[in-house]
Amino acid sequence: MDISNYIYLSAILFTIGAIGVVVRRNAIVVFMCVELMLNAANLAFVTFSRINGNLDGQIASFFTMVVAACEVVVGLAIIVTMYRSRRSASVDDASLLKR
């Protein structure tokens, strides 16, 4: 099997995540789609690490995981605050700001 198949997989997952952010309305689901994109990037990093024969890509993945964990904390805190204020986690309901 060709190693580059992992890169195809990564690109597919990234694309699906990117579409999800655009089409889904629930903030939590949107955020999960972002997580999917980050995971896809990680897969690419790990695969390139293997192709290049050094560990820098794996380190990058590791950092991404740490950063993503922090991001999730902050993001979910914001979403919960929003939810408590207006009982909805839909991005559409968050449209007081003029378009």
Partner: protein, 258 residues
């Protein structure tokens, strides 16, 4: 589409089998994430994708990352997502109605174009790719290798990440922590028993009951003491099973006596 010619970039059969079983499932799960209505289902599907990736990491000589992926990502991050979904309401689901007409088909079309372009570009690129592999690099062990890099080459970034962790904790505090000033139920009941008189410790009597008879064929009384005929079921009325209401009416002098 898949070039098998590159010997250096190819791997042995077990990994191929693993890939061809797991990868399509991961893609399906990711697609499902987009299509299912309930957020919880999306979260579970995402967790599945993450576990798949963890397996792939291990297959790709990234043992440490594979474990971290399961522990941190699937274990902690996804659990956090699920917690929040529980908090917000498990039923929370998307209305799949479009807000802007034509937005969704347009987005899907654009995405297919985007993905297709991406894939075809990668397809052209990988024919030149030759993989070095990590066997040499991981000779001392994957974890050791990563530690070596992490604490030398990337030590500065590692230090700075601590700022991020503190920020996250602080942020969650700011948005969620509130100083308790509600009095708890327990405190309320203690207060009740500590007051001077125990007269209404068990609670105050229920308010305004005007009936003087508890049979269904006796009319209720209105606040002014007169009977309320409509309080009797119309079936009883049709059968004539009604007791005259006059004896039960509250008269003026009776009221004075009370």
């Amino acid at each position: 589409m898949f070039k098998m010619a590159l010997q250096v970039g190819s791997t042995h059969t077990p990994e191929a089998v693993l890939f061809w079983i797991m990868a399509p499932m991961a893609v399906l799960a990711a697609l499902g994430m987009l299509l299912v209505k309930k957020a919880v289902h999306s979260a579970l599907l995402l967790a599945w994708v993450m576990i798949t990736l963890a397996i792939f990491y291990i297959a790709e000589d990234a043992l440490f990352l594979g474990i971290v992926q399961v522990v941190v990502y699937t274990g902690a991050v996804m659990m956090l997502f699920l917690f929040i979904l529980m908090l917000v309401g498990v039923d929370s689901s998307d209305s799949l109605v479009e807000n802007i007409k034509g937005q969704r088909p347009a987005a899907i079309l654009a995405a297919i174009g985007f993905g297709g372009l991406l894939l075809s570009l990668i397809g052209r690129a990988v024919s030149h790719t030759a993989a070095v592999g990590l066997t040499a690099t991981n000779a001392d062990g994957n974890v050791q290798g990563i530690a070596q890099q992490l604490f030398t080459r990337y030590v500065w970034a590692f230090e700075v990440v601590s700022a991020l962790l503190i920020t996250a904790a602080l942020g969650a505090m700011v948005l969620a922590h509130s100083e308790r000033k509600h009095i708890s139920q327990r405190q309320l009941s203690v207060d009740r028993f500590r007051q001077a008189s125990l007269a209404d410790t068990a609670g105050l009597p229920a308010s305004g009951v005007y009936a003087r008879h508890n049979a269904v064929d006796v009319p209720a009384l209105l606040p002014d003491g007169s009977a309320a005929p409509t309080s009797i079921s119309s079936t009883l009325e049709a059968r004539g099973d009604i007791i005259a209401s006059e004896p039960f009416e509250l008269t003026a002098n009776e009221e004075e006596e009370n």
